[in-house]
Structures are given as structure tokens and as C-alpha cells.
């Protein structure tokens, strides 16, 4: 990895050079430890800030979608060290997340008297820890992958599903029947959608023949005529897989329209009922970390990861391409949240078991077909594309008809 680094452009290697320079300042026994600690601190700092500004972007975008302005009041407080002088500009409300953090920290932390104190404390810690662990295998740039694992995809889904344990832990330890029921319902949802989420990724593994995220990105790294990227989202099976992945990722990260586990307007807060103060903020944080990690995986697997969309755009560093695509995914998720209504629990599970899972299985076959016909000559390529499109579109059409059978646009009749 470091051997190829010397030939890279300056911007591409600058952060790594800085890290290596700092590591070399220390004595030999500390170097390995410092090297890894810097990686961890960098992930925590970058994605901590990313989380903070995602919350404010979400509130502002949702506001705009509803023809409001969103939060724009929080400026900087008056610091006495400046002797009364302070910045009067509100900074477009961008300091809002820091004000929220201070609020969450200073709030009273209430633990129910009957609660299982240890599990009640551990649940938010575990949920944040596991959702942060998923960042370890995401390739943020050409040379920026914290841990290069051969089975990175397996690791990602294992760490991602461990957060479900924490959710049940939270519901159980609160010793509140509403929390417990909500946690069970959250589990039902998360397990239902774990299946299409993983099945949508399997065709990529079939086609690329690897479980390593970095190799998946490298497999997407060529261009037809120099400007048509070979990202998997631009293949029929990849597009279908990406759509299934998006829907399942929404459900996995408890976001609207699948935010039943903590539906604000219907339940109190689901499994978070007995949490307050910073523990609540930790769950909130874990939810956003999970969303960011899943978006990052979607970018890695379907949207070409850190690859530039055109050959000449490679002058922009790879990590910026990754972050740009990640931001686009997050904005799309916020846009969906501002548009769709919440599903009912039966609609939710039916969508998964009767539509997404069969479609993902058919798509798995489609991916296998694509992998087997990889070497055909180009007139046959047209037939390959046509077959692949038909295999995806026809089942979508018929299963969609069956899923929405009996649902016509509602007509409202008012009392005379």
C-alpha cells in the first residue's frame, strides 16, 4: 500500500504523509499503536462532525421541503474572555448541533428504579460501539481503508446486526412493558429487512468474486470511452440490487417511512421510552452512524466507491469523491423522509417477505447469469443486457401488481 503511495498526486497522499511523519517521530514500540489510534481518532472526528452536520442538514432540508426555513438561530454565545464582544451573525444556525449536544449533556439522566441498571447503561454504549465498528472496513479512498479484511462484507453485516441486540437490551432492561413490546417490534422489522439487505449485496459478490470492499471498488474502476463509469448501479442487476438495498437500508436504520420502532407521533419513543439525556443522544447518534455506514456501503458496492465518474476527474482526490457520493446518499434519505408516510407494521413486513425477498432472490440469479456470460463477444452483449433487464423488470411488474392489488386511489365521501 505505501509502496504505491509515492507516485500519487500530492492531495491524494497528503493526509497519509502527515500521519506517517507523526508516527515516525515516536519510538519504535509506540509506532504501531499510534498508527492505529490516529486512524480511530480520524474516523471519530470526521464522522462525529459528519453526524453533527447531518442533523442540522436534515432539519434544514425537511424545513425547506415543508416550505419552512429550518433552524437558523443558533449563533455563537457571548464569551467573557472577549470582554463582551461577540459575533452577532447567527452563522445560518450551523452551530445548532453543538447547542443540542450541550443540552443533552446537561439534562438529567433518569434511570427507572426497577430497571436493570447495568444493561440499561450498556445498551447505548453497545449500540454506538457496534455502529462505529462498521466504519472499519469502508474504503474511504484509494489508500484509505482502516482495516483491510478479506471478508469485509461479512464483518460489516455481522457488526451491523449486533446493534439489534442493543435495541432489545434497551427494551428489556427498562422494565417497561411498552419498551419491551416496542423492542420486539423493532427486532421483527430489523430481522425482516436484514434478509433483503444482504441478498441485494450477494450478486455483487458473485460478479466480483470477492468479499473485500476494496476489491469491489477496484472492480468498478474502468470507463467506456473515458466517461461512462462501470459502476454496478448502471447494470440491470446492479440497479435492482441498489433499489432493494436503499429500501432495506432505510428500514435497517429505522428511518421514515420505516420508523415504526420509535414512531414519534404514535408511540412515546418505543424502546427509547425510559432513556433521557445523553443516553438518548447516544441512541440518536448510533442511528445516524448506522445510516452513514450503510450509505457508505451502498456507495462502495453500487456507486463505484471512491472512483471518479469520468477518467479526467481523477485529479480530484478519491476520498472527496467518496464523501461527495456519501453526502448525496444522505440527502436522498432525507428527501425520502420528507416525502413518504409511515407504513403500518403489516404493510412493512409484507413489503419485505412478499416483495423484496423474492425480488432479491431473482436478482441473485440475474447476477449469476451476468457473471457466467462475462466473456461473450459484443453482439451477444446486447442479448445479455436484454435478458438481464427482462429478468428484473418482469417480476417487478407482476409482483408489484400483486402487492398493490386491491389498493386503488382512495375516494373520500363527505357527509352531505
Amino acid at each position: 500500500m505505501s509502496a504505491a503511495l509515492g507516485t500519487e498526486p500530492f492531495l491524494e497522499r497528503a493526509p497519509l504523509e502527515l500521519r506517517d511523519w507523526f508516527v515516525r517521530l515516536l519510538p519504535e514500540p509506540l509506532q504501531w499503536l499510534t498508527h492505529n489510534l490516529i486512524t480511530i481518532v480520524a474516523i471519530l472526528a470526521v464522522f462525529g462532525l459528519f453526524f453533527a452536520f447531518t442533523t442540522v442538514a436534515e432539519r434544514k432540508l425537511l424545513g425547506r421541503v415543508q416550505n419552512r426555513r429550518g433552524p437558523n438561530r443558533a449563533g455563537l454565545p457571548k464569551f467573557s474572555i472577549f470582554g463582551g464582544w461577540h459575533i452577532k451573525h447567527k452563522l445560518w444556525g450551523l452551530t445548532q448541533p453543538f447547542a443540542d449536544a450541550i443540552k443533552a449533556l446537561t439534562k438529567e439522566d433518569i434511570v427507572p428504579a426497577e430497571a436493570d441498571k447495568l444493561l440499561h447503561f450498556l445498551a447505548p454504549v453497545i449500540v454506538v460501539a457496534f455502529s462505529l465498528m462498521t466504519f472499519a472496513v469502508l474504503p474511504f479512498g484509494r489508500h484509505y481503508i482502516p482495516v483491510e479484511l478479506d471478508v469485509a462484507l461479512l464483518y460489516f453485516f455481522a457488526a451491523g446486526s449486533a446493534t439489534e441486540l442493543a435495541i432489545f437490551m434497551a427494551g428489556w432492561s427498562s422494565r417497561n412493558k411498552y419498551s419491551l413490546l416496542a423492542a420486539m417490534r423493532a427486532l421483527a422489522q430489523l430481522i425482516s429487512y436484514e434478509l433483503p439487505l444482504i441478498l441485494s449485496v450477494v450478486p455483487v459478490v458473485l460478479v466480483t468474486g470477492t468479499l473485500s470492499t476494496q476489491n469491489v471498488v477496484l472492480a468498478q474502476g474502468s470507463w467506456t470511452f473515458g466517461f461512462l463509469p462501470h459502476w454496478f448501479v448502471f447494470t440491470p442487476w446492479g440497479f435492482a440490487g441498489f433499489v432493494i438495498f436503499l429500501i432495506a437500508a432505510l428500514a435497517e436504520s429505522n428511518r421514515s417511512p420505516f420508523d415504526l420502532p420509535e414512531a414519534e407521533s404514535e408511540l412515546i419513543a418505543g424502546h427509547l421510552t425510559e432513556y433521557s439525556g445523553f443516553k438518548y443522544a447516544l441512541f440518536f447518534m448510533a442511528e445516524y452512524f448506522g445510516l452513514t455506514a450503510l450509505s457508505g456501503l451502498g456507495v462502495t458496492i453500487f456507486l463505484g466507491g471512491w472512483q471518479a465518474p469520468c477518467e479526467f476527474l481523477q485529479i480530484i482526490p478519491s476520498y472527496l469523491w467518496f464523501m461527495g457520493k456519501l453526502v448525496l446518499m444522505i440527502v436522498f434519505f432525507i428527501w425520502v423522509r420528507g416525502t413518504l408516510l409511515r407504513l403500518r407494521i403489516d404493510q412493512l413486513t409484507r413489503l419485505s417477505w412478499k416483495f423484496l425477498v423474492p425480488l432479491a432472490l431473482i436478482n441473485l440469479f440475474n447476477g449469476g447469469f451476468w457473471a457466467l456470460t462475462a466473456d461473450v463477444s459484443w453482439p451477444w452483449q446486447i442479448a445479455r443486457w436484454a435478458v438481464s433487464i427482462v429478468v428484473v423488470v418482469v417480476p417487478f411488474f407482476f409482483m408489484g401488481r400483486r402487492l398493490s392489488a386491491g389498493y386503488t386511489p382512495r375516494t373520500y365521501r363527505y357527509a352531505p
Partner: protein, 214 residues
């Protein structure tokens, strides 16, 4: 086809998003402390006491401390103590006045019953809503001085209602003055006749101020 409704919905929200930047008419909110909407005339909040004169508010309160509002108030938030002496009111008649008049706005529920029962048009509904205070007992308890606001202010916030009240009060005063004159004339003509018990005020539309639209 499945999903077409979702795409239509996404288009609607995208239109809202883009429109909110270039079309101020779309915005449903105002930037409150800097921008304010005009309150509707019928908007009401806590009551205030009407005084005839802005310079001598305490001397020209219309309230005669009859304590009807105090008795009618459902949450019992009005406290009145009658004065020991009498002062001439706007029509020159000697009346009691409230030595203490207080409204606890933390208890008041803005029901307007005090306004409806007042036979003197002395208490009316205000439009203030920025009453945040740091002390619940001192900041939210309004005494006589804080409650008194001139008639011109009443005209400003409820123009239609205030004009009706003024017309009625002027008519009553004129009628009272004429009656007094007639009584004086009759007394002069037949000094043995017993003078009529003159009603203080005889409004035909008793039972509260005629609010517009009532």
C-alpha cells in the same frame, strides 16, 4: 405501476424545496422577533382596565369596584378591594373606585367572562402575548397600574368594538344629562313632586359589549 406514486411524491417535495428559495409566497412561517404578522382584530388575550385618560390613568378608571367580575371569574384570578372614598366618574357622578385591582395571569384562562359581565365597559380583552417573566408571583401578577390602559389603546387594538362602546357610552351620558335636566325642570315646576329614582345607566343592550359578528 408500483412506485410511480412515490416518484410523484418525490417530485412534489423537490418542487417545494426549490420553490422555498425563490418564492417567498410559499413560506408558511415568519421570522418572529424581527417580522410580525398583524393580529386579527378579534384576537384576545388577558384583560386590561380601560381608563379615559392616558396621563391620569388611576384617576380616570372606568371601574367602580362593583366586584361582579371578581365573583364571576371561573378560575378566581381577579382580586378587588373597594376604596373607602368616592371619586367623580366620567359623567361627574360620585363612584367608588378599586383601591386594589389585580389579575393573576398565570391563572387567567382568557375566557372573557369578566368583560361580558361588566356593566361599565371598564374591563376589556388585551392583545399582549409576550408576557414571559422570570418570577411567577411578581412577573405574572398584574396590579392596577400595570392593567390600566387608555381608551385610545382600546381603539387601537379593537377599533370596531371600541367605536360601538364609545357610541353607547356617549348616548347614555347624554340621556342621563337630559333626564337630569328634565328632573330639575320638573322639580322647579312642582317642588312637592317626589323626584324619580334616576337609574345610573339604562343601556338597552345590556349584557356585555357588542363584539363585531355577534
Amino acid at each position: 405501476m408500483l412506485g410511480s406514486g412515490i416518484l410523484k411524491g418525490l417530485a412534489v417535495t423537490a418542487k417545494n424545496f426549490a420553490g422555498s428559495y425563490h418564492d417567498p409566497k410559499r413560506m408558511v412561517t415568519v421570522e418572529y422577533p424581527e417580522q410580525r404578522t398583524v393580529l386579527p382584530e378579534n384576537y384576545r388575550n388577558f384583560p386590561f382596565l380601560v381608563s379615559e385618560n392616558a396621563t391620569d390613568a388611576m384617576g380616570t378608571l372606568r371601574c367602580v369596584a362593583c366586584q361582579i367580575c371578581e365573583k364571576e371569574c371561573p378560575p378566581q384570578c381577579i382580586i378587588i378591594e373597594k376604596s373607602k372614598d368616592k371619586k367623580p366618574d366620567a359623567s361627574g357622578k360620585m363612584q367608588l373606585y378599586p383601591a386594589v385591582f389585580g389579575i393573576d395571569t398565570s391563572v387567567c384562562m382568557s375566557c372573557q367572562i369578566c368583560v361580558e359581565v361588566c356593566p361599565f365597559d371598564a374591563i376589556k380583552m388585551d392583545q399582549v402575548f409576550e408576557i414571559a417573566a422570570t418570577n411567577r408571583f411578581e412577573g405574572l401578577f398584574l396590579d392596577r397600574e400595570k392593567l390600566a390602559k387608555p381608551n385610545s389603546y382600546y381603539h387601537q387594538i379593537h377599533p370596531t368594538e371600541a367605536a360601538e362602546v364609545d357610541a353607547r357610552l356617549t348616548a347614555d351620558r347624554n340621556a342621563a344629562a337630559e333626564k337630569a335636566k328634565a328632573a330639575a325642570a320638573a322639580k322647579a315646576a312642582s317642588p312637592v313632586a317626589k323626584p324619580l329614582d334616576e337609574p345610573r345607566r339604562s343601556s338597552p343592550s345590556e349584557g356585555g359589549p357588542a363584539t363585531p359578528g355577534q
